[in-house]
Amino acid sequence: MESCNCIEPQWPAEELLMKYQYISDFFIALAYFSIPLELIYFVKKSAVFPYRWVLVQFGAFIVLCGATHLINLWTFGMHSRTVAVVMTTAKVLTAAVSCATALMLVHIIPDLLSVKTRELFLKNKAAELDREMGLIRTQEETGRHVRMLTHEIRSTLDRHTILKTTLVELGRTLALEECALWMPTRTGLELQLSYTLRQQNPVGYTVPIQLPVINQVFSSNRAMKISPNSPVARLRPLSGKYMPGEVVAVRVPLLHLSNFQINDWPELSTRRYALMVLMLPSDSARQWHVHELELVEVVADQVAVALSHAAILEESMRARDLLMEQNVALDHARREAETAVRARNDFLAVMNHEMRTPMHAVIALSSLLQETELTPEQRLMVETILRSSNLLATLINDVLDLSRLEDGSLQLDLGSFDLHAVFREVLNLIKPIASVKKLPVTLNLAPDLPEYAIGDEKRLMQTILNVIGNAVKFSKEGSISITAFVAKSESLRDSRAPDFFPVPSDNHFYLRVQVKDAGQGINPPDIPKLFTKFAHTQTLATKNSRGSGLGLAICKRFVNLMEGHIWIESEGLGKGCMAIFIVKLGIPENTSESKNPFLPKANHGQTTFPGLKVLVLDDNGVSRMVTKELLVHLGCDVTTASSRDECLHVVSQDHKVVCMDVGMPDGFEAAVRLHEKFTKRHERPLIVALTGNTDKVTKENCMRVGMDGVILKPVSVDKMRSVLSELLEHRVLFEAM
């Protein structure tokens, strides 16, 4: 055998060591080859592995190691140089890759470790969230319970039921052993056990209200734990249980209706509270949780609200019953009053009839007598009888009228009449009596007194006659002077008649009549009584006075109907007195028509607007003056303003109309501001624009800012009058431009 350089190890199949090495190598190689396969398989399965490159490297490393071990298998027996070379290559490669992997791992392992830490962190977080979820769920449940409880409590308005329901529901929700409500007594010094959960009819235990534990509970609106041994919690006799359950008490505010103000809550000291005591079951180890305490507080509040509602309801029911009773009583009273009025009217009608019949006889026969042959003295006497009976007839009519006056159903008989003739007639009537008493009577009619006027002739004559008659009646000496004239505005306003505001206009005038006498006079304090019915003053020399007492009262009523005023002035007893009255009479349109009865125009299309308050806004002085005069001419009460600010400053709810010139710079602004100032439609004055512009734009602008009407300048009196009357009637006017 030639010696060769090959190493010729024996194949000692029987040498165990070699055999074992061989097998181990084989298995190592197997493992080394399978690990990467497994890795690849699992990484393919999971998508989230960020280190693929490392894996490849690792895989290469393992494969090469495996290869090395595999190739090692051949080196146990005879192996050629190729095998040695392959082995060496494999080893070299393995060395390179493993060094590279080692270096790589230095970078990667900290990351992997931190992944672990993050995982731990997330786990903790998840646990925390779980806990919080648990809490929220508990709260939500509590909330649900509260809602359910509230619903139960508020579904009734009966006090008793409210309280009972509260206790029952609370007991159920919180699984309480006992639940009790202590209400303050009438005196407010004690708390009385009013309702309990378990006991059907609680015995009336009372507890003084000033106990420290009670004060403690009442002083805060939170539910507080109290000792189970306190008097309010000892509801049942202690029956030897091990451990009484925890007790909580909360205050329930009670509404005192007399303390109830909408805007401010009554102070603490005047509040009354009830006490609610809740006990957990005795033998359980349960404790009061925070959410349960909160639930109790909420329920206590709800109970308070429900009780207050119940109290208010009771109160309002009682008020309603009271009102119904009062209504019935008022209705009854009204019916009685109506019956009384009807009875009186019937009586008056009958009486009048009875009185008129003899009057009729007297008048008829006197007038017949007049027709016969009489001596002059007889004629005079008969004429006086006739005139007096006519007067008496009129008086009888007026007794009926007075009752109708009081009902407000008297209307004036308006007609055109000769004013001067009325005075002459009155004078003729009074002259006989005055001359008998030797009292000279003078009549002074002003030259500007219209000859004809429109009014109620009969009643005017009556008034004048009554006033003059009084003057004559109560004078023993001296003269009586009667003056009549047209009243001007200065003389119309009298300090003695402070609420009489006559407004002159061009269709009416105010007649003022003054009757002065030098007779008995009247005590100034007695003057107001003169005008009341059936009251007459008792003076020293009144043995002659036997007036019916109706005269002046009737006169006052007539004068009031004629939109006037009547009063008497006197300096005192013995100093005479002056009776003055002012009445409003119409001026007939055409004197030639004065014979015809002239009825006043119906009220559509007013001719004047007495007392209508108007505000004129115009920055041009001349223009303003002209507009103002126009309106004054129509009887309005005019205020002027020359700027928007002045207008807003001066305007008030009394102004019914605002006339503004929209040619001025902030005319439209003013309208907008007026709308802002008066938000309610019926408070706002009507706004009328005066403009010289005929274009559509102006009209649209006016409508846009909310004007109620537009008038085109120049404005005549007639146009203003018709515009105002249409505006007041319809509250809107837009002239066709």
């Binding site: 001007k488 505005s489 002159p504 061009d506 920055d619 041009n620 002085g621 001349v622 223009s623 003056m625 002209v626 507009t627 005069e629 126009l630 004054v632 001419h633 010139d661 040619g663 710079p665 010289g692 300048k713 120049p714 404005v715 005549s716 009196v717």
Partner: protein, 154 residues
């Protein structure tokens, strides 16, 4: 002069003023508003008009003499004057103002100045006429007569 003669003269004069276009129907309205409760109304309004107009005219003259004319202001003044003259019934003055305003819109200085001259002329004419009328009225009243407004029906 006798009252009746004075009254006739007054009527004639007034009618001529209306015919020649110095005054228009608005002035009539003013006369209607004058009554016993306000006997000097027309005189008062007329004097107020004179005051206002004198002021406006001098303002206008001043404004138009400026280097750079403020047309807005000029327009505002003319607007005021137009308003016053139309309220009182001074027809010629009012018409002049209308023309004036259109020149203002065009911002034509020369046109405005011409208009201003025209306005001044017409204003002094109407002023002297109104003063004469009022003097006549005062004479009639002083002589115990009354102003015969009803004869002015046209």
């Amino acid at each position: 002069m006798e009252v009746v003669q004075m009254q006739r003269a007054w009527v004639e004069y007034t009618k001529s003023l209306f015919r020649e276009g110095f005054l228009d129907a608005q002035f009539q309205q003013l006369q209607l508003l004058q009554d016993e409760s306000n006997p000097d109304f027309v005189a008062e309004v007329v004097s107020l008009f004179f005051e206002d107009s004198e002021r406006l005219l001098s303002d206008l003259t001043f404004a138009l003499e400026q280097q750079s004319v403020d047309f807005k202001k000029v327009d505002a003044h003319v607007h005021q004057l137009k308003g016053s003259s139309s309220s009182i019934g001074a027809q010629r003055v009012k018409n002049d103002c209308i023309a004036f305003r259109s020149f203002c819109e065009e911002q034509n200085v020369e046109g405005c100045q011409r208009c201003l001259q025209q306005v001044k002329q017409d204003y002094s004419l109407v002023k002297s006429k109104l003063e004469a009328l009022i003097r006549l009225e005062q004479q009639i009243v002083a002589a115990g007569g009354s102003i015969p407004m009803e004869e002015l029906s046209f």
